[in-house]
Symmetry: C2
Subunit: 377 residues, 2 copies
């Protein structure tokens, strides 16, 4: 039985997430903890709600769920779908598959529209599926597919669906705060994200953005939503106080998210997107110069997540392990049994800089060279 305190080593977290927490965010978690029903906490909650609206460029309800990003996905599925409803899900990686799985667990009939890992599902294919299934209630896509580094053309999909009577849900776990995302302008009815990637806070909450149209549909449900995910109760708890108690929100995680959102808005959304774009482009250029092949279709490459195919004959896990143990740098591998052999390199939040990109790639390159992978140059 352990009885000693933890001594985890310091890591540069350049995998698919989490990213390193900003120092001022860590400091916020040391501030005096208020009770979750303290009148003073309500002001903080309302500031978080307002700042999330600004970060999502949303015009509906924003609040963070009291659970990690995975539960944000599930909250969308169980609120927007009822048993027997049809959902069209774009699947071109691990998280699209998971979303389809969750929708089936919720009793929905799921129409998967698939593409290979590294590609994106064409919007036309989603529209075709909608034509074949006009009863569809929800179309769901992964805005930033963390398992492949592919970005879905969400703005264009929103425009194509603008006059349709169907809800649009987007997984923004690796996009919020890192790449352009305008949920109101683009017509996204439900977006969910996490705190531990481009926002540079620790994991523990899932920021949600819900359109007025989506909230309106909840009133017409004939089946209940799991209590933990009941958006109407969460709205009463976060916004309409002092009406109702829902759960004991993770107060210190709320402080962290508050500070992280202050950082995002002080920097400016467009400046932050540019910083992520430049860091990712720099890393990707170096990888290509090195003769490495990227998994993602170049037209849909995310800046914040770069998936690199593993050259033949290389022990990918060994490269990860040497980077971790000799250089203190975490990168990711392929996720799940369907993944082609790859490494996943992330530059998110405070790590999204060309300096960190160079530090990461220099170390990665030195390990590859030790593994006798010659440079293309």
């Amino acid at each position: 039985m352990t009885s000693t305190s933890l001594e985890p080593p310091t890591r540069l977290l350049c995998g698919p997430g989490p990213s390193n927490v900003a120092e001022e965010v860590l400091a916020a978690m040391q501030k005096p903890m208020l009770g979750h029903l303290d009148p003073g906490l309500h002001d903080i909650l309302l500031e978080v709600v307002e700042m999330l609206g600004a970060a999502y460029l949303a015009d509906g309800l924003c609040l963070p769920l009291q659970a990690t990003g995975t539960s944000g996905m599930e909250a969308g599925v169980v609120n927007l779908l009822e048993p027997g409803d049809t959902a069209i899900v774009a699947v071109c990686g691990y998280f699209g598959r998971r979303l389809a799985d969750m929708a089936e667990r919720a009793g929905a009939r799921v129409v998967r529209v698939e593409a290979d890992w590294g590609s994106t599902v064409p919007n036309e294919a989603l529209l075709d599926a909608l034509d074949r299934h006009p009863e569809t209630r929800l179309i769901a896509v992964i805005h930033a597919e963390t398992s492949t580094g592919v970005q879905h053309p969400l703005r264009e999909l929103g425009a194509l669906l603008r006059e349709k009577d169907v809800l649009l849900m987007a997984d923004c776990v690796t996009s919020l705060g890192g790449i352009e995302l305008r949920t109101a302008d683009w017509g996204v009815d439900f977006a969910y994200s996490c705190t531990q990637k481009c926002l540079a806070a620790p994991p523990g909450m899932s920021p949600l953005a819900i359109s007025s149209r989506a909230m309106d549909t909840l009133a017409g449900r004939s089946t209940p939503v799991p209590f933990s995910f009941d958006l109407r109760l969460l709205q009463q708890y976060w916004v309409d106080r002092p009406a109702i108690y829902h759960n004991t929100i993770p107060v210190l995680n709320v402080y962290a998210l508050h500070q992280a959102l202050c950082g995002v808005l002080q920097e400016g959304l467009e400046q932050r997107w540019t910083r992520h774009a430049e860091a990712g482009a720099h890393l990707q250029a170096r990888a290509r110069e090195r003769g490495l092949e990227l998994l993602a279709d170049p037209d849909h490459q995310l800046p914040c997540l770069t998936a690199i195919r593993v050259p033949d004959g290389v022990d990918a896990k060994r490269v990860q392990s040497v980077l971790l143990h000799d250089h203190g740098i975490e990168i990711g591998g392929g996720l799940g049994p369907q993944a082609p052999p790859m490494w996943r390199l992330g530059l998110m939040g405070r790590n999204a800089s060309t300096e960190t990109a160079d530090r990461l790639f220099d170390a990665f390159d030195s390990v590859l060279s030790r593994e006798r992978i010659p440079s293309a140059r």
Copy 2:
């Protein structure tokens, strides 16, 4: 739009929770954050699993859910019940009602066995209900009813059910680490708790204890469980690694829980229960001497939560507000529209001491005196 950092005031948290976080637990949250798939993190997860088993005196699977205590309740309900199953729920306060609500949301047929707020539901009444509903799959009780300060005789219920083919679930949100709880010996199949009360960690996770019998029943389900709450996937993620990815666990909250559990086990469970018992008895004696009436049946009074009836003509919310703003002390009021007028005073975790009981009651007494409530003495 806010852009400044938070400056929350310091509070002594003596409501129904959260309690003040121990300093060493806060310090643990400043340690370098590992990625959730870091091999080094698995050792930490396994230590948390082992220490939770020791804290719950459990012999099955223990792990903390990546969400707050409310979701721990829901995880139990959705894993142990399928649509159409019968559940008997003891309801004598807010949390029993909520549990019954959640079970109905999950499609179960709920048999409520009720008692007044301040009483406990007699075990004989639960057995009678079981006789009337022999198809019952689950009996659920609130071990420590946070809305009333009442303790359910859980050990005795477990003994009565030992030979019955029914699962026993217990809400241990306000009992784990504060009062005697022996899940294996008492035959509890599913217990859930929180981190922010008697464990003295911040809110954000829900420690679960699941018996082998309960895990076995999951294999026989014919309907799926919501992904977020799927105990078999969570077991693979927390224990059986590196098999599977489930969610990005809240790493810093895991560090905090690890440190908090180290504290619990270093102190010793029985010593900790005694400390909570002495602090609560001291507070309750002072309240009775002051001529105040306690809500809970004295035979089932919790030590860690004391509900005091509001004397006629007193503005209960004003007393709370003056305590909060003039003394920096948080206490709770009644929870929900069914609650009789009351204050709820908690002495949990690091606050469970006679010194803190005196500080709390001295301030409470001075506010009552200003409100012209004469002392009995």
